[in-house]
Symmetry: C2
């Protein structure tokens, strides 16, 4: 039996640089599939394309979202733009047929390499988020049934939110500009570099806790994968510092059980409309 995450991001090669995927309804958030999940599907096609080069880990990936993706068949086209000894850079696009015509859902630039081959001095000044113990946090799997049927994604992982930033879940948004919690994938699948592309986009939008519910479409998401996580629970936190001019950014950090900052991401989203 494989892990459900691997089935959800599975791709099969159908031609030169061309892959087929079956997008999983389990990653729906309302009517659209989660952007981080879609990036992992594209990322998996890229991993296959670069397997012979030995470049299986995204170092950096940038997704630009073009239209909302829906469950069902999809095509990923990967074009290698630079082949180096230590890393490769690709352009890739995921599309779906709509009334017989291909419609692009997201387009991606990414640089891949092999995280196990690199090392270097560590002078990290960032500190992991301070979180209460998991048992003192709020499990998203305990959310109301109507929420869970609107956001099936919450059953793809175990997430325990810091109660200090989860007032929104009880109808009392705290006004905080950040949300943080503990994370692991369903059936304890180890989080590798490919899954990190999804993990950074799993927290509820900070706008929930700011008292601004409603859809906040992502224009762009860039993820830097900095290390393969050690086994164990992850701590994830995201925050906006510049909610202005019609947009807001969300910066996400993922910390592993060895206190390493294993992924950093930033996305630009439209402010929810009242």
């Amino acid at each position: 039996m494989g892990y459900e995450f691997d089935a959800a991001v599975a791709v099969s090669r159908t031609g030169a640089g061309c892959y087929r995927a079956e997008l999983d309804a389990g990653w729906l958030v309302g009517a659209a599939l989660n952007g981080g999940y879609l990036l992992s599907v594209v990322g998996n096609a890229v991993r296959h394309e670069l397997a012979d080069a030995g470049h299986g880990d995204p170092y950096t990936a940038s997704a630009y979202y073009l239209s909302a993706a829906t469950p069902g068949p999809a095509t990923v086209q990967v074009e290698v733009r630079r082949s180096g000894r230590g890393s490769s850079t690709v352009a890739a696009t995921l599309s779906q047929d709509v009334d017989g015509r291909p419609q692009d859902r997201l387009t991606v630039l990414a640089t891949y390499g092999d995280l196990s081959t690199i090392s270097g001095e560590v002078r990290t000044t960032a500190r992991p988020p301070g979180l209460p113990a998991p048992e003192e946090c709020l499990l998203t799997s305990r959310a109301a049934p109507e929420f869970r049927s609107f956001v099936p994604m919450v059953d793809r992982f175990a997430m325990a939110l810091d109660p200090a930033c989860a007032g929104w879940a009880h109808g009392r948004p705290g006004g905080n500009t950040w949300i943080q919690g503990w994370f692991r994938l369903a059936d304890d699948r180890p989080v590798d570099s490919l899954a990190l592309l999804t993990v950074v986009d799993t927290l509820p939008p900070v706008t929930m806790e700011m008292g601004l519910p409603g859809w906040a479409p992502t224009l762009e998401l860039t993820v830097h994968v900095r290390a393969t996580p050690a086994p164990g629970l992850l701590r994830i936190r995201h925050e906006t510092r510049n909610f202005a001019g019609g947009f807001f950014e969300e910066d996400c950090e993922v910390w592993d059980s060895a206190d390493r900052l294993v992924a950093q991401s930033r996305q630009l989203a439209l402010q929810p409309r009242g």
Copy 2:
């Protein structure tokens, strides 16, 4: 008389989505042209391509650097990937002929719109960097002649660095993981959304102040342009928080004279080798 920045990023259309540029030796840093400058050249071609759509401002742009660009002729190919009422998304690549064969220098995804049409609630929690008065700062134009001939870029703008993070300029790196200062373009050209793509990449690498001189090649640079700057000096600051695993990120903020955070950027770079 036009501004020198406009001459340096000028493009002329030569065919469908195809533009010609002349890359300016004035933006050299050592043997290679500055990555932010190159992004503005690409960004200017995109601006021309989207002129009819009325989408003249980058909201977000992500550049992946493929090989070092040199002064002289270059070609920018722009492909519109999504045309919307409010914004357009493009893919663009800058290449140069090497021994008669085109070699890609950087490839870019970007979403453009019109900053003057958008507004929204402001709940920014970020605060501008605390800087001494410009006259108490260190002008990079006063650097030693051998430095200025190695980095001709420093004569393209007036930059006054906070002495608290400029010890490296006197051979005594302070160990700080950030550098900040005041900024304006040469001949006082107003900084618009296009120029911001360059501004975010003009500060000396934080690794200088960390006591790690040497070349730190950028893999990826993403810029979010959040507003057109008000007239006057800009304050710019960048910082790394996760120097580890062979890489470091640099987060840059640009603040205008009206205390607005007008641009945020992040880049991923390789740690300098010894």
